[in-house]
């Protein structure tokens, strides 16, 4: 199990009810982590519509996670 810090934005923040949380997870990749959290928070947004950043850099969904990573899930935003 790795301890990962997660930050949510926009619709994901609303669904999660928090902008930040720290989770203990067995997820090995960013994609697995999203699936786990999407199920827990009922995100409803397919992963293909989102981007993920790990440690302040955009990353591939297949990127392996390690303890202490900071993960941000970014939904597209359109308001103006």
């Amino acid at each position: 199990m790795n301890e990962i810090e997660i930050q949510y934005f926009a619709v994901l923040r609303e669904r999660a009810g928090t902008s930040r949380e720290i989770v203990q997870t067995a997820a090995e990749t960013a994609a697995e982590l999203y699936d786990e959290l999407a199920a827990r928070h009922d995100f409803g947004l397919p992963q293909s519509m989102l981007r993920v950043a790990v440690n302040d850099e955009f990353a591939e969904w297949s990127r392996p996670l390690k303890a202490g990573d900071r993960v941000v899930f970014i939904p597209p935003v359109a308001g103006g």
Partner: protein
């Protein structure tokens, strides 16, 4: 000689004097301004003059023309130094030739007084104690004074004062001249566009294009304070243009009362140096993205959602990511909400818009050499910003952007004057607004078939696969997005009502 000029080397009054010779002149008067060794109790060692030359020459020529017209003199001219000057050097020369001495003296006095008041020239004094400081030109120090008798008879406003930005070492007179020579296209004059337009106009951008096909609505006012209740129902682009012209008459404002569309975006982008994208929908954002890629122009994108915003700068450099590099699957409108659906506080778009204006100025001034591509996320509730480094997506074809755009020959949008005309078209009308948006519809203007977009995008409802449909929403943005989506799935007989219900008469 030209009536007003700048010189970077020593002035030559004898040469200037000869050029004023005129058979009708019975006399000549001149004034010379010299650099003195003290000012306000401090010992001055030398001076530097800096001018915003394009504007200064225009205003200087106007002053000389006024003097000739007002005093009926034969000839007049003025030359001002720029650059570094020592004590005793000649800083400014004014000369007038006239039939009689009275007019010559009066015109000479008028020219030097008006030049000191109105022409944007800045003076930096270097003091004996090693210190130095910019001294406001008199124009900046005095209260605005109206009522010069201009040659064209119009009452003059004082010239716009850029001294506080010219004072920045990275800007200077050269930077101001770059801004005056620049043109910026602002797509969308809403929550983001209003501050972008205000700050770019105030900064003295030479030419600003405003693209917006909407009218001012009551629900806009809380976050778009360029508009007031008296503007309701008037086209945003035109109202904004009027306000901005009053804010800074130096700026040329061009009004485009249209929504950005595939058939107009390339022509709009082509005539500007930089694009600031301020719309509230993905469709327009990707349209602008593709157009700036084709035109190889820089662009500044931003979006807001409730208390948050995202900012992305695009530069036409080989390694630089575009909007599609970050979002390869163009998001569908309605899925994540815009301001109308999700709500927003005014300072959120205002903050992001001000950031966009700043990034635009940075690009135009060449202050972005050290920037690396990123998406900046701003959370104004948590008061946090986060900068995420972004890379070019190798699968994103910048030479052929927007390849997934529908290429159907059928028009996506249809135009109708009234709802009755639309009903008679033979198409089935489908209202995709949310239920609360329908609550205030007048009884005669109701559309029986209702499929809220929120239900469709979350998979709780399906759009019927067979039949011919006219899709309708409030402004034609969400309906167009859904129409494009359905067409891309092979459904040929779906159309969007252009401009939505807001565009119908009666």
């Amino acid at each position: 000689m030209s009536p007003f000029a700048f010189a970077s080397a020593s002035l030559e009054p004898d040469r200037y004097r000869e050029s004023l010779a005129d058979p009708s002149a019975g006399g000549y008067a001149s004034f010379e301004g010299w650099v003195r060794d003290h000012n306000e109790g401090r010992t001055v060692q030398r001076l530097e003059y800096e001018a915003f030359e394009a504007l200064a020459i225009r205003e200087g020529e106007r002053i000389v023309a006024e003097a000739v017209a007002r005093f009926g003199v034969a000839r007049a001219a003025c030359v001002h130094r720029v650059g570094s000057l020592g004590i005793g050097e000649l800083a400014v020369w004014v000369g007038v030739s006239a039939a009689h001495r009275g007019e010559a003296f009066a015109a000479c006095r008028y020219i030097i007084d008006e030049v000191k008041h109105r022409v944007p020239i800045w003076k930096k004094e270097h003091y004996a104690d090693g210190d130095s400081g910019w001294v406001n030109c008199e124009r900046c120090a005095t209260a605005p004074h109206h009522g010069h008798a201009h040659a064209d008879g119009s009452a003059a406003l004082p010239a716009h004062d850029y001294s506080r930005q010219i004072a920045l070492p990275e800007v200077g007179a050269a930077g101001q001249a770059r801004l005056a020579a620049a043109s910026v296209l602002v797509v969308g004059a809403g929550g983001l566009g209003v501050p972008v337009l205000q700050y770019l106009a105030a900064a003295g951008i030479g030419r600003l294009g405003i693209v917006d096909g909407d009218v001012v609505e009551a629900s806009n006012l809380h976050r778009q304070p360029l508009y007031g209740p008296a503007d309701l129902g008037r086209p945003k682009a035109a109202v904004a243009a009027g306000r901005l012209r009053a804010l800074n008459p130096d700026v040329r404002i061009e009004v485009h009362e249209v929504h950005a569309a595939p058939d107009n975006i390339d022509a709009l982008v082509e005539h500007h140096d930089l694009v600031v994208e301020c719309t509230d929908n993905f469709r327009a954002k990707f349209l602008v993205n593709d157009a700036v890629l084709r035109a190889r122009k820089p662009a500044v994108f931003a979006s807001v959602h409730q208390y948050e915003g995202q900012l992305q700068v695009y530069r036409p450099l080989p390694h630089w990511p575009c909007l599609r590099c970050l979002w390869p699957e163009a998001p569908r409108d309605g899925l994540v909400g815009n301001c109308a659906e999700a709500g927003v506080l005014g300072p959120v778009p205002a903050t992001l818009g001000a950031m966009q204006a700043m990034q635009a100025l940075k690009r135009l001034l060449g202050l972005d050499a050290g920037d690396t591509p990123s998406l900046v996320m701003v959370d104004l509730l948590g008061l946090e910003t986060r900068r995420l480094a972004a890379r070019r997506n190798p699968d994103c074809d910048h030479d052929n952007p927007g390849h997934d755009r529908p290429t159907s020959e059928q028009p996506l949008e249809l135009e109708f004057e009234t709802l009755a005309d639309a009903f008679e078209s033979g198409l089935e009308l489908v209202d995709i607004r949310e239920s609360w948006e329908r609550a205030h519809d007048p009884p005669g203007l109701q559309i029986p078939t209702h499929l809220p977009l929120g239900e469709l995008v979350h998979g709780r409802a399906e759009f019927p696969a067979d039949g011919r449909y006219l899709i309708i929403c409030a402004h034609g943005v969400r309906s167009l997005s859904l129409t494009e989506h359905l067409r891309s799935r092979g459904q040929a007989e779906v159309y969007s009502l252009r401009g939505g219900l807001a565009a119908l008469r009666g």
